[in-house]
Assembly symmetry: C2
Homo-oligomer: 420 residues x 2
């Protein structure tokens, strides 16, 4: 057989088995799903040595790769324990499946409500980090879905070792092992087949760099929950409390540089620009943050570089910050609309009307008042865990937890009711 036809058939086989297993997971009891999650956690704890050995082989093979990638790939005893802990946390979350809300009597006499239901089969495509294998499997299972996981080829041995634990845990709980399958082919076309079989896969969640996500969005024939850039803004209004503004401006940029909810551009209202920039400039300097400034900012920020057009809208993921002086709220909202990525934006102000306008008019997945953009996170929001942060507006927006992995159907209860 043509090897490509063979690969396609292999991926379709995964899909068929996932679809069949999804029906069993959808009707599994909460107890059964939690038992499976706890059993998988136990298997991971017990197999820690083996998982670390597999990871060491992956690391040896990855010797030539860059250090950021190697950091993401590497597992330690602590990271393996965190993985098992994550599974136990998901087991402790409330089961979303089957929840009925808004059940109300209608004039016709029927009761109509909505029941939360699994999406079906979720495909996760990710790079390097082997812990995603356990995290993603846990969230999918708890939400009643089957999962097909496609990790990076550099993590294949680590992922296989974790997958073996998942399989054993599912088996111990009496659930079908096909509920979580690993796509092992390292052929690039495998992903293309996976994202183009709507008969077997209900949604794709890509977790990785922009290149991966753009490729998947282009090729997908099923819905994609995607996360593109995180170009987050803090706007310091002229009615801001200076102390709060200072704390938030430093925390949003400097608490961690490489995360998607890190501030990349600071906007300052003209009326407070001079004192604010004189206050913040030295604080950024002593933390080694390079400032890319608009001309007005330049005048009050010694050592800043003049920003170019590319700086507005840049996701640095590094100790670099674009700073721009704006006339006020309107110009701040316009700037965010023009250059932001609809991820997370925050206003610092004591003025209630302006806070209300910012919350309503800034069209981002998280909008904040007097809080650091770094809070945009599933754990901080109380979702328990997240499978990613969606910058789409459709279906799920912002941190995606169990609810984003489910849908709702209508339930109608009658007593022989007919339509007139």
């Amino acid at each position: 057989m043509d090897p490509k036809t063979d690969l396609k058939e292999q991926i379709h086989g995964l899909g068929r088995r996932a679809r069949a297993a999804s029906h069993e997971i959808a009707r599994a009891s909460t107890r059964q799903k939690d038992d499976a999650l706890l059993a998988i956690a136990q298997e991971i704890d017990d197999a820690a040595t083996g998982i670390l050995a597999a990871n060491a082989t992956d690391m040896a093979a990855a010797a030539g790769l860059d250090s950021a990638l190697k950091d993401r790939l590497e597992l330690t005893a602590a990271r393996v324990a965190t993985m098992a802990g994550g599974l136990r946390e998901v087991a402790a979350l409330t089961d979303p499946v089957g929840e009925i809300t808004d059940l109300r009597y209608r004039p016709s006499g029927i009761q109509v409500g909505r029941m939360r239901v699994p999406l079906g089969v979720v495909g996760i495509i990710y790079e390097s980090r082997p812990n995603v294998t356990a995290d993603a499997a846990a969230l999918c299972l708890k939400a009643g879905n089957a999962a097909i996981l496609r990790g990076g080829s550099e993590a294949i041995r680590s992922n296989q070792a974790i997958a073996a634990c998942i399989r054993q845990g599912l088996e111990r709980a009496g659930l079908p092992t096909e509920a979580v399958q690993i796509l092992e082919s390292t052929d690039r076309d495998a992903v293309g087949y996976l994202v183009a079989m709507p008969e077997y896969v209900d949604v794709i969640v890509p977790r990785g760099g922009k290149g991966l996500i753009e490729r998947i969005s282009r090729e997908a024939r099923v819905p994609v929950i995607k996360h593109l850039d995180g170009v987050c803004h803090v706007y310091i209004d002229d009615r801001a409390d200076f102390d709060k503004a200072q704390r938030i401006a430093i925390n949003a940029k400097c608490q961690r540089y490489g995360t998607c909810n890190t501030m990349e551009t600071l906007l300052v209202a003209e009326a407070v620009a001079v004192p604010m920039l004189k206050l913040l400039g030295p604080l950024y300097r002593e933390r080694g943050v390079e400032i890319r400034a608009c001309p007005k900012t330049m005048a009050h920020t010694p050592g800043a570089k003049l920003a170019t057009a590319e700086d507005w809208g840049a996701e640095y993921l590094a100790p670099i910050l674009a700073v721009r002086v704006v006339a006020g709220l309107d110009e701040a909202i316009e700037h965010i609309r023009a250059y932001g990525s609809q991820h997370t934006d925050s206003i610092v102000t004591e003025d209630l009307s302006r806070a209300r306008r910012f919350l309503r008019e800034v069209d981002s997945s998280s909008v904040m008042v007097n809080a650091s953009t770094r809070f945009a996170d599933g754990f901080e929001y109380g979702l328990g865990a997240e499978i990613g942060i969606s910058t789409d507006k459709f279906h799920a927006r912002g941190p995606v937890g169990l609810e984003g992995l489910t849908s709702q159907k209508y339930v109608v209860l009658g007593d022989g009711h007919c339509r007139e």
Copy 2:
């Protein structure tokens, strides 16, 4: 200029204007939006004669088309009045935009909640029925969205007359007229461009035949809220109340033949098949419903035809009904899974455990107990109006009203809070 380049540029121009208008509609007050809806209703009432004249021209040009299409295309004074009434009903609905739910304090001290927000720009692609122009515009506006409407070429003059009323109503309410635009090109490629510009369009809602919807799903580069087949089932359990079963089986099939929530296949539990079929057979016969029967059904249904493989899964939209005897609930669920379209399915039973299983395990957008499938409808469910019925699981499922035309973003309120 190449005419195709020109058409593409024209559609992109529509998109750019819609995107700009969407920001204004998103922040419009409830009062402004309702004023616009009421003004449009008034304009339609006032322009009724002109709308009917435009429709008469469309009808004359459509003389050669089939009668079902002509019925959908035709406007009468009553239909125009209903259109205006629909706008007033949407004005009376609660504004979903800006609603904040689940605002809770987190351990960090921030408050986190979710705010309902417009999707942005909605593209509606529909056939023949000119009333969709007014209905769809009303729902999109109320949900804070801009709309691009692409009706059938056979209804172009009717749609233009209605669009003029919409424009005047928007103008009177001080809202941008580009909030609702009509795509007037009858070039088939225009639709292709419309569904492939994610920078300007956030979601596409196709309303029409299966061919249209399949084409759009194939070509779309933005999310599609789609409605494929309505292959709806009623399962009469052996613990059914005969009187309820009879009423529902007749109502679900015969109340209207051409709707997507009409029953197309009746499943009967073997233990009650003989009395049930003897009861129902004559009732269907006197209503002129042709029965396509499984072999077991044949034996007790005089005049039935033997069903072929194509009958299971057929959407007749006609006085034809497939009937199959099943062993019990398990086989009924299996049959629905194999042949249904995940639209609407109902069980008739007095047994609570079986009702619970059916509700949980049948994976359709509406699942019912002791009620006619004909209830699957936005008005009956209390949504006020619907833009369509979604057979997707992603984002919106079942009748789609104002909520399906919105998303939710996270709002975070702090008092200078930073992440530790």
